[in-house]
Assembly symmetry: D2
């Protein structure tokens, strides 16, 4: 078997797209390993993800030839090596439970990423409980006055490292519109509430004050409109009247960690496609 | 065994309340069957629920004597027969899935209620799929002009039937402030979203538009502030990009039915105590 | 739009199946509405489900032509009208909560079935809480001596009514091997435990005795080996030490009802394909 | 406030226990912070857990005096400092995800334990991804011939360190009956399946072969009868036909980690009481 490829695409829906794509892959000697499609009848859009063994065909040949098909259907598309780890830049503030969880999963081979940099607005000593190993750490403090400059530094690090994904792993800073736009579609945030409930700061205190009976977390793409980006994954758990805000924070850490890790995994495996303000998520 | 009683109470927390209550019951010959308490350290309030077999003691003797203790501690309290079905008035509009579910659970003995009336703003013929049997049905249409009068009729029915509980089982009308105040603490609504997300109308369409990955339902006490009353129970289920609003409505019906039924059961069993804008829920 | 069709198929996996099927549909003027496939790498088997608008093509033409393709790939396949209600025979004993739930969902249009008969080993009077309406009811009592005969009667009713699906909605009788074989692949049972735990009788009492912290239910195809048929759907809920067997039975009813209804819905929509002793379930 | 204490007790149920215990605490000047009780009507047993501020009373005075009450009611009981970290010995084999999770939670203050030793049948180099820091590591390899000796070494370490709790954090060795008896009631195991389904080895492969639609994990006290000890906590998650055994292992790691951590937390907080082959778990 050659190195498997992943093809993702979206375009306006019309008859024959599946036939065209799958016939092309078959003619080229490809063998489909996993495939999903979604015909969004509300927006008349079509989404597809195909993992395939390209057989004898050269990757660049496929890329060139498929570009023709893509043009014909006006597709947004992407062709990548399935098993190549994606370069990820992880941003964090003081709470490192999401970071610790992501790095552990990466180390045991669960997340196919290459963590090229960790950026924090706090010094490395603030990350007490997580071994960073060889991953470069960048302390980029931020104030109202230095925000522009700090964000430029982050963009520079992303460029220098070729970061394909930026993960805000409880990075407690709001990105500027410019920064959000710069990383559009490749920056994932974990919001520690079940959006759209409890936007903004201190969501667990908000949840306690409101007396809800479940709390949750939401992983979403970052957009200029804070807490409003396309949601990738969410989970929630029951709580009771006896859970004070500290208990909610404790229970929340676990939900946040696994919701963010799942969203990152889905993104690394090219399973998340944008559909306007929503996402299409092709789980296996 | 005598007929078991349920005692519920709340008051400012201070040392000795449990001792005082349990010692009294013991001295009177009572035997505790189930007991819970909650010391709310954030508000310094105390909550208790005790099921007990009163033994030889007469119920009215206990009531008279306990009133003394309650006065001493400035308790809100209630003493009732555990197994006496509570009289319930159920209100419904066109969608009868919650009504059907409540009546089925009542018929098989799962809900200890006595449904004294069903009130709808639509004629009985609108409830196509649920056999009402002997339960009196009241068609009380409502318009902007007749709202005051209609609500007065509902209050009259509640009074005539001695309704202890009013269940809004997908009753798609907003109660006036006066009506909400009248039924304060004994009127349960099911909101077909996971509050505080998606308040107001058409929550499933809102959820679809926002692209969330879970939907839920919330049962809460009705207050003047719509969709803001103390929450009794909530549940949520995962959805996917492929669920259109119709699918969400279908999945939602099931969540709504069981969340409302659970809240009603908890209330009928005197397991829900008010704690300001929140609730204390003593599950067995 | 013509009446949509559903095509389901399975065969040994090899390159080009998706291309072959989707190209055929496209050439015939069909338009795919929803499609899923699964390449089972452990068994080298391929599974596909396609909903499509056949456009101008006559259904029988497609059936004839597709039979050629199916032969070429040695497919198991099925082509049906998507929206035609499937004829269902429902079997029940004394507990009617699953029956009530299925009929309610059918009446409000949630389950695209045509309930052609209800068969019980108890008289109709045993079903106290569920209005059967026009659905023919058959009281077929069963004893050790009459089992063969009773099962023959059930087969006869299924044949007379053209039943495509047999639902054991808490039918507390074990089908003979012969009966299980007769209805293979079209008979769904709800087992009131989380298989493979607690096979056999009184699973909630078993669960209580074992002290588990969750209970569940399993909907599966019936096979000769009781409680071992391919599982279609399962769900589970947390319980506590305070739940006695009666409480477990109460909580279980809700899980059973929704697990069975979901399995029936999936089957009615042709979303369940057999994969040896397992199932492939194509959710939308 | 003095250092809070936790009192746990169980005995045969009879009237007046709550009154006796709470009156004693009140008379001694204690203030209840949290209290739960369970009257097990099936076994006529009584269970209680009280967190209280002892006020001016000396701990040893309470201990001496309460011993009298306990004798009177033939109670099993325990009186401990609520906030004193319990000494824990953690055993592990090659897979360190549960160990990593426990240590992370300990480091951020979520688990009030004092990890006095880590014991593995593999060398420390096998634990690649988890920083053990200062915690003493003991490599105690085990073979059929050395099992007795190895277990004696473990008992010695437990004695030397004063271990109050032994956590089998994916320790892939079966304890001998003697060892299980030695650590009875203070040794928690994580079984990577939803007991009682899939006992024994390779439960995820068993689950895949059986085609179940949910997988789970079970934390239980270790007894001589493997996989049959009293269950403390369980959780389960849905899976699909597309999850191969490797996927199940991945999904399972997360469930195992949080189920074990929750069971350990409950035990550390003295919230788990034995009730024959079952447990009573007093969550806050």
């Amino acid at each position: 078997m050659s190195e498997p490829l992943v093809l993702t695409l979206s375009c306006a829906d019309r008859p024959g797209i599946t036939a065209r794509v799958s016939s092309y892959l078959f003619e080229r000697g490809g063998n489909i390993l996993e495939a999903q499609q979604f015909n969004d009848q509300s927006s008349n859009a079509f989404f597809m993800r195909v993992e395939f063994d390209p057989g004898e065909a050269a990757r660049e040949t496929i890329r060139t030839e498929f570009a023709e098909i893509a043009r014909e259907y006006a597709m947004d598309w992407k062709l990548t090596l399935r098993d190549r780890p994606r370069r990820a830049l992880i941003m964090v503030s003081k709470f490192d439970h999401c970071l610790a969880d992501l790095l552990y999963r990466w180390r045991i081979g669960e997340l196919a990423m290459d963590p090229v940099a960790i950026v924090s607005n706090h010094p490395q000593s603030a990350i007490e409980h997580t071994a960073l190993g060889e991953i470069p750490f960048h302390h980029l403090p931020i104030t109202r006055d230095t925000k522009d400059e700090q964000e430029a530094q982050v963009r520079q690090i992303a460029e220098d490292t070729g970061a394909e994904l930026v993960v805000l792993a409880r990075y407690m800073q709001i990105l500027s519109d410019r920064q959000a736009a710069h990383f559009a579609g490749r920056c994932i945030n974990i919001h520690h509430s079940f959006l759209p409930g409890f936007k903004g700061a201190k969501p667990y205190h908000q949840a306690h004050a409101r007396g809800v009976k479940m709390i949750g977390a939401s992983a979403h793409f970052v957009t200029a409109d804070l807490d409003e980006g396309p949601i990738i994954h969410q989970a929630a758990e029951p709580i009771s009247h006896a859970d004070n805000p500290d208990e909610l924070v404790r229970k929340g850490r676990e939900i946040e960690s696994r919701v963010l890790a799942e969203a990152v995994r889905l993104h690394l495996e090219e399973r998340v496609l944008l559909n306007g303000m929503r996402t299409v998520v092709f789980r296996s």
